[in-house]
Amino acid sequence: MQRIGVFVCWCGTNIAGTVDVAAVSEALKSEPGVVFSTNYQYMCSQAGQDIIKDAVKEHNLTGIVVCSCSPRMHEATFRKTAAAAGLNPYMVEIANIREQCSWVHKDMLTGTEKAIILGKAAVAKVNLNTPLTPGESPVTKRALVIGGGIAGIQTALDIADAGFPVDIVEKNPTIGGKMAQLDKTFPTLDCAACILTPKMVDVAQHENIRIFSYSEVEEIGGFVGNFDVKIKKKARFVKEDICTGCGACVEKCPMKKIPNEFNLGMDNRRAVYIPFAQAVPKVATIDPSACNMLKSGKCGICSKVCTAGAIDYKQKDELIEEKYGAIVVATGFNPISMDKFDEFAYNQSRDVITSLEFERLTNAAGPTQGKLLRPSDLEHPHTIVFVQCVGSRCDACAEKGKEYCSKICCMYTAKHAMLVRDKYPDTEVYVFYIDVRTPGKNFDEFYRRAVEEYGVRYIKGMVGKITPEGDKLKVQASDLLADKQLHIDADLVVLAAAIEPDKTARPLATMLTASMDTNDFFTEAHPKLRPVESPTAGVFLSGTCQGPKDIPETVSQASAAAAKVIGLLVKDKLTGNPCIASPNELMCNGCSSCERVCPYGAITYIDKEFPQPDRTVAVRRVAQVNPAVCQGCGACTVACMSGAMDLRGFMSSQIIAEVDAICK
């Protein structure tokens, strides 16, 4: 039996004005378990807290009920008081007789009556309270960043600068991501490579950062602070630590007609290749699907020309196992496929290109060395049509396209149009738009400059149809404001393709038990207040894996994610909330209902041996709750049919006791 003390607060006249506090403390005296009951002007004051501490000692109290303001206000205060008096802080319950009683009722009689009932409910609950201790788990002081684009790079640098080791896993042979493919960046027009490559070098040289390039995450186990990750380092057939990146092998490789992914297939690379000059790590990679030596054992030229002896045709995939405290997802995006948009003739003409291809065409390191030449005949295009919103903002039921706005297209199209008019003033540039969306610092000014200073012709209306005819592209569109049909003979058409999350994101989310929306973007723990955290503890989101973003936004989110990771890794131990779910193994059916409703993936199952009355041993599947992951929502407790799952601090028996006390 508990020995409960009841402390009724007047809160000046806030409570005492509408509630007869003396009557409340008197009435609660006779409740089961109550051995002491008093009232005082301000329970939260030092003097009030001293009354509680003294009573705990004097009456050997095991539980405390404070009838006062909302627990959201002073529950923490009174828990500390209890702890100071040597009591478990979770033996305190608050009856909210201010916000939910004295302040909302005018009549002293009803107010007092209700206050007594609320007090009785709290006493009934405390009678069933048990001391709770928060669980502790150690933290592995190392972070994993999945994806080596600008988001991953920024997150890794920030975490590493704070002194924690970071590993970056990048599926391509080099880090850099999409930003490395871009030419200039809006709205300042600095060159992407000039601002990105120094950061890539920083990453390569940072003592706290390891890069696993040409690698993929295979398996993820564990939980916040204690993830176990298996990383597959794919064989690149070049010894990374020996290769100097001199490029002799590339130069001599006889397989010259392999489409170059980095230039989106607009030119060719060799079977052994370095994606681009500033690649990090600057190490060659042999493409096993193209290399003669690997396919048929006939060639071996690269091995002969490599003075460092870095070529290793026998290299195997390598599996690396590492422990991490936190995982950052930075898997990025890709433009959607244009295959379904027949009306834009993307697959019929090489001169209909996507915006990312256009970036490569204008990039000094691109297939045309930065000269704007159209892919089909390498002629300078005189009329260029940009089409916005290709595949963005589509109906949910439509078979092609995405429902959301891809966010970045308006700005990069303005940039492209402006750059063309700047370099080639003899070029006619049309931009067909539905809306021009420019919310961002200096964004609208940028767009206006494109129109006003550079004479880009913005036309409201979606292009209806593009027909290749001779060396021209017949563009048919309706100018909605002038209400007339336009027929433009274009030399080059650039489609602002919608962006979608990278295909690797979905299987990764499954491994992480992190949730995703219907478009395969990762969901945040809270859309407004916790935008860089996944609902799965210890998993953080950086960049476009969470939603379409431009570079400044990506970098902000990357740093925010890093801050969250640092905040986690700086702790030696994670102290959990002790009010978590706990299963009674003897009653657990192993049915998985709780596991299915858990938003955090906190529940797992083990096969456990149970001694039987007949001295045999039975093996049953039973639920286990990971205290470091459980957040204590209680969804599992209701999903559990047998009632094996209960929630500490809000046990079924406690809530039923409250119900009974109120309904008595």
């Binding site: 938003p599 079924s652 809530i655 119900v659 109120i662």
Partner: protein
């Protein structure tokens, strides 16, 4: 107020993060609602087991209301979605058994909606009061 006037007994389950805070806000703004409403704090509306609701009715409650965060705003991301399904089915079943459907309610009240909390409680208390005592459900043993 007349002493003998019938007043209903109403149990309100409120989630800690939104609706309980909404009730606190109603208090901060001194928005009146009947004292018939007694609030039980739960971490999330998904902690409310249908058994608790039946228990309240069994012990003489005249109405039970469950309040949670608006869909999409759950502190635990998805708890209230489960609540919504469970309560939709439970309420439909109670109605099927011939229990007045007005005695149960599920409302979404955010931490900012003090006024909505008070208005909801006023409306619910009035509705339940109009129905009168919960004769169909109460357990006579537990009555005084």
């Amino acid at each position: 107020m007349q002493v003998n006037e019938y007043r209903p007994l109403i149990v309100a389950f409120c989630c800690n993060w939104c609706s309980y805070a909404g009730a606190d806000l109603a208090g901060n703004n001194r928005l009146n609602y009947p004292a018939d409403v007694k609030i039980i704090r739960v971490p999330c509306s998904c902690r409310v087991n249908p058994m608790f609701i039946l228990r309240a009715f069994q012990r003489g409650a005249d109405g039970v209301i469950i309040c949670g965060c608006h869909p999409g705003d759950c502190h635990y991301t998805s708890g209230n979605y489960y609540t919504r399904r469970r309560m939709a089915l439970l309420f439909s079943m109670l109605d099927y058994l011939g229990i007045e459907r007005e005695r149960t309610r599920l409302e979404w009240v955010s931490a900012a909606e003090g006024a909505k909390f008070a208005a909801t409680m006023n409306d619910f208390a009035e509705t339940v009061a109009a129905l009168g005592e919960n004769k169909r459900l109460e357990d006579l043993r537990c009555k005084k």
